[in-house]
Symmetry: C2
Subunit: 223 residues, 2 copies
């Protein structure tokens, strides 16, 4: 694994991002827009990263990541998301405040730090936005997630993500005792309005509206 500058890491992360929800190849202008630079600067950097075998680049025809480039991007993403978890779970930041800080922290390279942080956080599989955290080999956890609203009554699982981070929503979740990692059982689903009756952490029983349940993601426990 090569040592990259912060700048190189940021390019790699942006390219990964664009390819993931973009497609096969990504163009210079797109990258420039995402990294906050100009197309000319991107061209230079692409040459550099291609020489390092992190991406394959044909002039005028966009780039894609090599195996190594993709893996490197995933390890950067891993650091980013672990720090997000730390900031939210330990330092009590709100989910929408952590992006900028995590972007600074992700470039701290010391390798044992990442391992210890992961351990300290309890090997989380998802970040506070519900995005999966790659493992130390750059592999995804393949545990499937469901939207709570779509979980059939009788199932039990764990809240792994929230897809709305308005203050009001978070406050509400707090009130009914739901948090990332909370164990939940779906007891019943009300036909009339789609609301759910559920047990949280084995004791408290709550009713959640369809709107709320649609913004919670869970992984199910094998039944």
């Amino acid at each position: 694994m090569q040592v990259l500058s912060t700048t190189e890491e940021n390019y790699l992360k942006s390219i990964y991002q664009l390819l993931k929800d973009g497609g096969e190849k990504v163009g210079t202008n797109e990258i420039a827009a995402l990294t906050g630079t100009k197309a000319a600067s991107v061209s230079d950097m692409l040459k550099k990263l291609a020489e390092k075998r992190l991406l394959s680049y044909q002039k005028y025809h966009g780039v894609s990541l090599t195996e190594e480039g993709a893996k490197t991007a995933l390890l950067i993403l891993r650091r980013y998301r672990l720090w997000e978890v730390f900031l939210v779970e330990k330092l009590k930041f709100n989910w929408d405040e952590v992006a900028a800080i995590a972007e600074e922290l992700e470039h701290v390279k010391a390798p044992p730090l990442v391992r210890r942080l992961d351990e300290y956080l309890g090997f989380p599989k998802f970040d506070p936005h519900g995005d999966p955290i790659p493992d130390e080999f750059g592999e995804w956890s393949h545990t499937p997630r469901m939207i709570l609203q779509e979980v059939p009554p009788g199932s039990a699982g764990k809240v792994v993500a929230v897809t709305n981070s308005s203050a009001a929503f978070l406050k509400y979740l707090d009130k009914v005792g739901i948090y990332i990692g909370a164990r939940i059982e779906v007891l019943d689903k009300v036909e009339f309005d789609g609301s759910l009756e559920l047990r949280v952490d084995g004791d408290k029983t709550s009713f959640l509206s369809r709107e709320v349940a649609a913004n919670l993601q869970v992984i199910l426990h094998p039944s």
Copy 2:
């Protein structure tokens, strides 16, 4: 408070360091040695930092920090030492492994991060090496410290620092239940060999040799 580059921060920190245990003025070569650069580079940087009013600089006659420069250096030191505490207390690194990592983390600028980290760590006043942590205004805690060996019998206090970090020493401390933050009472001092009898955290009673007690620093509780 101006925004400084990582490089500028490192120079400032080094200069602070040299002045603290050096004296009035510090020379270009010394700074170069500590920052791992050459005297010529230091000259350039001194000009730059002098223009930013962080230090006062007269050609050929060394530098000293201005009020603002010293305060800035202390806030960098604050970040450094808070991260040290985090790495040791939370991530369970050994005291002698954290320097390089903390040096990377100290340059993460997001201001709310430092406040939250401080709070999360319980507003520590000393880092794992026993060095004091400046407050958010760049002021020192003025609680005086003593070497445990010199504490008169009958006094009570708290262990705030260890001045030896050999594995054997740490292991021994662990065995007798002493750690940073441990509450101790000096019960008696043996004339013969200068060893101490003390109570740790209100219950366990230990005997510490003079050598060991000479490597522990405490702050005394008002009696």
